[in-house]
């Protein structure tokens, strides 16, 4: 069985800023390791064996380049600019605004060197590269490309590479964003299409780059054909089920009307998972069985893969099929500011 891991860490969820201002989370590792936190929102829809992952990279000001490295469950077919309102609409669905407040909905989005480069795409001020390789290879690629990975990165990269050797590196060029007229808080939505067997959301990676007591806040929206089964279950350690219900027709119609979202089915199940945890609590991932039966313990990080592929191997065929339902995680990012002198 083809195994996929899924995962994503993204930087930023600009959209949430409108509904949940400050406290939020997602982190960039900047100069001297300083971490700025912003909340992250991600959408992972799964239909006809394909995962559609949408997240947003937020322009947080400053200059130079920042990046993130995100584990993926498989090789994406396509990486493109996401629709303008998908994430906002999902937030509205589960956090209704009070009556009388005008909707902004519909408004444009302002919002070891052996690693193999599979795909390179430029989206606005984002340079996106899809890589294939083990943890060591991808880590070295990142280092050679100016990423300053946090100290936990070698172990975490191996943790994910042992399940899926596919990673997405996103480098945000703040100077280019400024030149494009992007303002602080503006987001660039990215839509990744990944054929895979089941959704899966990496959560452990959200704590990467954070201290043990740092908070991780993220929202993950899942859209599946039917009610999914999830692991770990029952929820604990900062993971909370905020919404689980048949997706409303109005939501599905709205999502379908956004750019690149015509795949959205006529019916489905909407799940919202909120993460409000310390980094040290996030020792697990979220495994999803889209058919509602038995999610994989391996996918949830509760059990090691039967045969680990090491830092450069291919996924083994008996490893679970996880689908990456993307996830958002700013904290998950190994972000660095390029050309920053390091201390010492």
């Amino acid at each position: 069985m083809r195994r996929f891991l899924a995962g994503f860490a993204a930087i930023a969820a600009a959209l949430i800023a409108t509904t949940q201002p400050a406290a939020a989370c997602a982190g960039l590792i900047g100069p001297n390791g300083a971490v700025n936190l912003l909340r992250t929102t991600t959408f992972a829809g799964y239909h006809d064996g394909v995962e559609h992952y949408v997240t947003s990279f937020q322009f947080a000001g400053g200059s130079g380049q920042f990046g993130s490295l995100i584990p993926l469950p498989g090789v994406p077919d396509k990486v493109e600019k996401g629709g303008a309102w998908t994430l906002q609409r999902l937030i509205r669905e589960t956090n209704p605004i009070p009556k009388g407040v005008p909707l902004a909905f519909g408004v444009a989005d302002s919002v070891r060197s052996a690693a193999q480069v599979l795909l390179e795409v430029r989206i606005d001020a984002l340079d996106i590269t899809v890589l294939k390789g083990g943890g060591a290879e991808v880590g070295q690629w990142a280092t050679e490309h100016g990423f300053r990975l946090p100290p936990a990165a070698p172990e975490v990269l191996d943790f994910y590479a042992n399940r899926s050797p596919i990673f997405l590196a996103a480098v945000f060029d703040a100077d280019a964003a400024k030149a494009r007229g992007q303002r602080i808080g503006d987001g660039t939505p990215v839509h990744v299409t990944i054929p895979t067997a089941n959704p899966w959301v990496p959560l452990r990676i959200l704590g990467l780059g954070k201290n043990a007591d740092d908070r991780v806040d993220a929202d993950v929206f899942l859209l599946t054909d039917q009610r999914p089964a999830l692991l770990p279950y029952p929820f604990a350690n900062g993971m909370r089920l905020d919404h689980s219900a048949v997706a409303t027709t109005s939501l599905l119609d709205d999502l379908r009307s956004d750019k690149g979202m015509d795949w959205v089915p006529q019916s489905g199940w909407l799940t919202k998972i909120s993460i409000d945890a310390s980094a040290s609590q996030l020792t697990y991932d979220l495994a999803v069985d889209a058919k509602g039966t038995s999610p994989s313990r391996v996918a949830a990080g509760l059990q090691a893969p039967a045969s680990q592929t090491g830092s450069s191997g291919q996924p083994s065929s008996d490893q679970i099929a996880l689908i990456g339902i993307g996830l958002s995680a700013l904290g998950a990012i190994f972000l660095l500011r390029k050309s920053q002198p390091v201390i010492g």
Partner: protein, 135 residues
């Protein structure tokens, strides 16, 4: 009574001698330290004073590390330092990904010195160890 006292004294002397012998066991002059998953595989190393000690430092990780050994004022300086790369001084070693470096130091004072990687977050992550210099 006298015999018993003499035996006790003899045993005590033997024990003291044994202890002396044990503590005088040769301390290493070649030390290997491996870095894996951003941790030193040795965090307490005893070395003799006044003798050249050769350290072989192995970075197994795909990320940069460094090995800086010194006293507290030395580390306080490096925590706020801005040197991107070390290499001119034998107690300040930069370790690129998957690299091996060797350095030789002679410690002229007894007591503990600390070795730390001062890259952002690395010290807090646990990249700290002690070299105990023994007279």
């Amino acid at each position: 009574m006298i015999i018993r006292t003499l035996v006790a004294l003899a045993l005590a002397a033997l024990a003291a001698s044994a202890c002396t012998t044990a503590s005088a066991a040769p301390l290493p002059t070649h030390v290997g330290i491996r870095i894996h998953y951003s941790h030193f595989d040795q965090t307490k190393i005893d070395v003799p004073m006044g003798v050249p000690i050769t350290f072989t430092l192995i970075n197994d990780d795909p990320i940069d590390h460094e090995w800086l050994v010194g006293d507290e004022s030395f580390h306080a300086r490096h925590r706020a330092g801005t040197e991107a790369i070390h290499g001119d001084r034998p107690n300040e070693i930069s370790l690129p990904p998957f690299s091996v470096k060797t350095t030789t130091l002679t410690f002229d004072k007894p007591g503990p010195l600390t070795f730390i990687c001062h890259f952002p977050q690395h010290e807090a992550y646990g990249m700290v160890g002690v070299v105990m210099v023994k007279p």
